[in-house]
Amino acid sequence: MYDKLASSWVSKFVGWAAALLILFMPFYVENQYYLRVMMMIGIFALLGLGLNFLFGYTGQISLGHAAFYAFGAYGSAILETKLGVPFLAAWVITLLFTGLVAYAMSVPILKLKGHYLAMATIGFGLIIESILSQWVSVTGGHDGITLLTVNILGPWLSQNLYYFIVGSAMIALWMLNNITRSSVGRAHQALRDDEDAAEALGIPVKNYKVNAFVLSAVLAALAGIWYVHLSMVITPEVFNLSVSIQILMMVVVGGMGSNYGAVLGAVFLIALPEFLYEFKDANIFIYGLIVLIVLLFFPKGLIGMVEAVLRPVGRLFKGEDKQNSFGQLEGKRGV
């Protein structure tokens, strides 16, 4: 339903303008700290978009998404630093490997539903977390892995990581919008609302769940690849259960079942703590309070809030050329 916001030409223009402004921010923003915050938002937007497709659109919960995030970060870092694989090959191998693991585990795990699926994905997250801290010879244990981005990507690429991270998040948003506006997207929503009814209409429910799981895992791995090249050091704590919960919270607070909501959730999760930093010890308290208020009073999340504000504005521009579906058929008949 939020897609209707994006259908008029005004919002299309605003959308493109905003996208260009965000993508070319390094041209007019000098402050490296702000750019870094933007990159972290891009990384979390990738995580949120992936999980939103799995949870918000397809109805399958994952409380172990930090594990796939870790696959991306550790996978690319190990390949690049320990095995000397060129970065592009390392990224492709990492993404393919994550996709394969997600595929292999999704077939048995997606037989579970609701709370049981949540528990199973937590279990998966914990297994990966303990491998990261215990398999010292490969993962560096609690010391983690340090990676000097400039040595791997070269000076130009490592200076312009912003375009990769923010650009890929935008492409992901575009792709997921394409999916969710298509028949495939509606099929995913249908199986979320009623699995048997969807199956009876010819939707291969099992395959679609697996697709969603794999796609969302690969997006998380991409976020992990960006994270390790941005932060240059990774430790198991960056990928623990609380991070999985944060990713899920981001989707819910942003607005489940909305791709823009997932992005908004990422902005909220990353930017707000930075603003609240001035409140020192009270910042977590205030953050928690805001989350509670959003959940209690805006069941559709932040995007629901934004939509409520924008709806009257949108009406001004819509005019009479925008017919409803009824009018379309009448028009076709020449009535």
Binding site: I179, L201, K332
Partner: protein, 254 residues
């Protein structure tokens, strides 16, 4: 023969819900499956549509067995079903609900949809046009942009029929399509089902409303305690002693 059910048996542990039931469906006919509550009608539906695996027996759709196929595969072979309870997709408009019914024919997949390929955009228009036509046939075009929770119960029931009609399947299994409808709604549903048959579809329906069954069906199959006790035209079944005794409680109110 369109559909052949041969010696179908379904047991749950020690309980035999359907026992050695056989019947055939002829193309372009409306067949009604009747029987008292708990007779095994819905179990039979579930066995035919792939939601249950029959313990014994065969189900042949145009001569090929569909036993062991998943429901979505059976649909793609041309057999669609509705459920006893209304099962609309709450998060979508009615138009989108109907369009979802035609998803299996859209040719779209995750990758083509992701890149919004021209063929996907074309198929979206096609789906939309067809869904509007289906709504028009059922006389609920004005509901296209509404959400399921804005509809009356009778309208929700029609949306269920619209969804299976949109699948393009030519054998429709309707599980109590008139349940909970008032007289006027039942009458208009009868007209709609006649219209669907005139489009070249074949229909198997479970129904308790005798007026509905006797007015519509070309053939009636009666089951009781999981066994078939009679089969024939509505008139033959109405005068069958076993049916009168076992199911209709001595009199037929047709």
């Amino acid at each position: 023969m369109l559909l052949e059910v041969k010696g179908l048996t379904k047991q749950f542990g020690g309980l035999t819900a359907v026992s050695d039931v056989s019947f055939n469906l002829v193309e372009h006919q409306i067949t009604a499956l009747i029987g008292p509550n708990g007779a095994g009608k819905t179990t039979l539906f579930n066995c035919i549509s792939g939601f249950y695996q029959p313990t014994k027996g065969e189900v042949l759709l145009r001569g090929t067995s569909i036993v062991g196929l998943a429901p979505h595969q059976i649909l793609r072979k041309g057999l669609a079903r509705t459920f006893q309870l209304v099962r609309n997709f709450e998060g979508m408009t009615i138009l989108e609900n109907i369009m979802t019914g035609a998803h299996s024919r859209s040719g779209q997949n995750l990758l083509s949809a992701m890149f919004s390929l021209p063929k996907v955009r074309k198929s979206e228009q096609q789906l939309r046009r067809e869904a509007l036509e289906v709504l028009d046939i059922l006389g609920i075009l004005h509901l296209a942009d509404k959400y399921p929770n804005e509809l009356s119960y009778g309208q929700k029931r029609l949306v269920e029929v619209a969804k299976v009609l949109a699948t393009g399947a030519d054998l429709l299994l309707l599980d109590e399509p008139a349940a909970g409808l008032n007289d006027q709604e039942t009458l208009s549903l009868m007209k709609i089902i006649e219209k669907i048959r005139a489009m070249g579809k074949s229909i198997l329906l479970v129904e308790h409303n005798m007026k509905f069954v006797m007015g519509l069906a070309d053939k009636v199959v009666v089951i009781e305690f999981g066994k078939k006790i009679a089969e024939g035209t509505p008139d033959e079944v109405k005068s069958d002693k076993r049916v009168i005794n076992a199911y209709l409680g001595g009199t037929v109110n047709a």
